[in-house]
């Protein structure tokens, strides 16, 4: 008979796959950001989009105007982009910065979780908020107009598709902006100011430079022009904007993906150092 020290063997319990592990973070992160700032911005976006759309569609049906133009109206305005920018800044600024600054990122990354998983979770949470703010009200407005009998079901479905066509690339772009700028700092305030400053400064400066030089290609760097261009095409209207809607869609989606990659690259090099 021999005596030996016990050797611990971890119990084998079936584990769920990566998507479920990521979902655990997404759920918490979406709830975490449900504070007054984002909720107020989302509520205002809903109010503007739903009210504006329903009223415009009603008048379009009464006056025989263009239904597509009525659905497109909210996206034709800079206000919609501005509210999405507010949602991005309030929801996304602290997404990575808060975790890095407080070092609570350690609690996630000391587990079997890749940085890409963590980033996917964060991106999904920001994206969820942006879709709730950017796409959902348009869809609800379409459903309301159909329910009230202002438009046919097929017209409402076409409007829903239009909302996704505008909202998805915009959400991808803003998610990438939020991730990139949030990964660059440990303070969410700096990231928030950075998100606002970068997008607004870019829009204003390229508008000015494009006006002076007459080079309309520069306007691809202006998110508002891109959204308006995509919006017109998505709702079947002739585009008065100088940018091509397909190219604008690609620019927005690609920029968002590149910025998310930048955040991934940056996170891979971040060390969680003590105070």
């Amino acid at each position: 008979m021999s005596i030996s020290a016990p050797r611990y063997v971890q119990s084998t319990v079936a584990r769920v796959g990566r998507p479920w592990r990521i979902l655990a973070i997404v759920e918490r992160e979406v709830v975490r950001r449900a504070t007054w700032g984002p909720l107020f911005a989302v509520a205002l976006t809903w109010l503007i989009v739903v009210l504006e759309t329903v009223v415009n569609v009603y008048f379009a049906t009464v006056t025989g105007g263009s239904i597509g133009a009525a659905f497109e109206t909210p996206y034709n305005s800079v206000i919609w982009v501005l509210f999405l920018l507010i949602v991005t800044a309030t929801v996304g600024a602290g997404s990575l910065a808060d975790d890095i600054g407080s070092r609570s990122i350690t609690l996630y990354l000391s587990r079997p979780l890749r940085i890409s998983d963590y980033l996917t979770a964060k991106a999904s949470a920001i994206g969820t908020w942006l879709l709730i703010a950017g796409v959902a009200p348009g869809c609800v407005a379409a459903a309301i107009t159909a329910a009230l009998g202002y438009v046919s079901a097929s017209a409402a479905l076409a409007a829903v598709a239009g909302c996704f066509a505008v909202g998805l690339p915009t959400a991808i772009f803003f998610t990438g902006v939020a991730l990139a700028l949030s990964s660059l700092t440990r303070r969410s305030l700096y990231a928030g100011v950075g998100i606002f400053g970068t997008v607004l400064a870019l829009g204003v400066s390229v508008g000015v430079v494009a006006g002076i030089t007459g080079n309309n290609d520069l306007l691809y760097a202006d998110i508002a022009t891109d959204v308006q261009s995509i919006g017109a095409a998505a709702f079947g209207l002739p585009s008065p904007y100088p940018t091509d809607p397909v190219a604008s869609t690609v620019v927005l989606a690609l920029t968002g993906c590149v910025l998310a990659l930048l955040a991934w690259w940056r996170l891979g090099r971040i060390e969680v150092v003590g105070e």
């Binding site: 971890q10 592990r21 655990a24 973070i25 070092r103 079997p112 150092v273 003590g274």
Partner: protein
């Protein structure tokens, strides 16, 4: 080397500051105490092991895997960071459950394990309160709960008893002993020697980013005892006491720092303490107080650090 943790000349800098400076040690089975004063490099080592820092120089492995970066082997590791930062907007239960789900447990399994872990650290009644209202001791306990909830093979506990009340310390120490007794590998750090002494005899001492002693606690104490110890005495007649003590060959020097005070430097503190009562009785001397200025961890480190120079 085949330890749970193998460190070979690991150096980590924070700009101009050295976190670890050629740290080499092997942490084997059972409970190992990592002891060192504040700023010695304990937390740096833990952060390196948790994959949050990358060694500048040297090789650091955990369970045979390079410590830097993610990996599935982290399923076998539980990490309780020193940092008080938690996911403060969550309740204690949600916190542990969420991290278990990140570990790959199903929602139901995570909830079940979370409840058990929360109960292990005596937080059941506070489990549904938000972490932001937890006291420091409660935060420490919930950190330990998330660390043990997934039944890890290796526990990295960075100052786990810091801020915990005496009753909590006793119960957490008992928990650690029980986990260690069941065969888990536990690396626990503290800057308070007696806390670690109560948990284990296996010690790694760290100072200035280097392992200055490793092994059985008693051997380390013996090593310390080869150095002269400072002992302060108070007496109504310190000069008479000094004359009597001057006859002992292990007494290196005697000073009179103040009225009624005597400071003795001895090479053999055990002999000193054993012989002092008899001397006092036979010579009729007065001794009001005896204090060892070296009976603390700082002194131990001072000695060992001097030894290395």
């Amino acid at each position: 080397m085949t330890g749970v943790v193998d460190a070979e000349a690991v150096t980590k800098r924070y700009g101009e500051v050295l976190g670890l400076n050629g740290f080499s040690a092997t942490f084997g089975a059972g409970i190992t105490g990592l002891v060192g004063p504040n700023g010695a490099g304990k937390s740096t080592l833990f952060r390196l092991l948790a994959g949050q820092l990358k060694p500048d120089v040297g090789r650091l492995t955990l369970l045979g895997h390079p410590s830097w970066g993610p990996g599935e082997f982290r399923r076998r590791v539980g990490y309780c960071p020193e940092s008080p930062a938690l996911l403060d907007w969550m309740t204690g239960n949600d916190f542990v459950t969420t991290l278990l789900r990140v570990d790959g447990f199903s929602r139901a399994e995570a909830a079940d394990r979370s409840a058990r872990a929360i109960a292990e650290v005596d937080l059941t009644t506070d489990g549904n309160r938000r972490l932001r209202v937890y006291s420091k001791g409660m935060r420490q306990r919930v950190k330990i709960a998330q660390c043990i909830a997934h039944d890890p093979e290796v526990l990295l506990l960075d100052e786990p008893l810091n801020g915990v009340d005496p009753v909590g310390r006793a119960s957490l120490s008992a928990l650690m002993k029980r986990l260690g007794g069941a065969g888990r590998h536990i690396i626990v750090s503290s800057h308070v020697l007696y806390e670690v002494e109560r948990l284990t005899d296996q010690i790694v001492m760290i100072a200035n980013g280097q392992a200055i002693a490793q092994g059985d606690l008693h051997r380390i104490r013996d090593l310390i005892d080869t150095h002269p110890h400072v002992i302060d005495l108070e007496s109504s007649d310190p000069r008479a006491l000094g004359r009597a003590l001057g006859g002992w060959d292990h007494v290196v020097s005697i000073e009179f720092p103040g009225p009624g005070q005597l400071r003795v430097l001895t090479r053999s503190p055990d002999t000193f303490y054993a012989s002092l009562p008899e001397l006092v009785l036979t010579e009729g001397l007065s001794v009001r107080a005896v204090r060892s200025a070296d009976d603390n961890l700082d002194a131990v480190f001072r000695y060992l650090a001097q030894e290395r120079r």
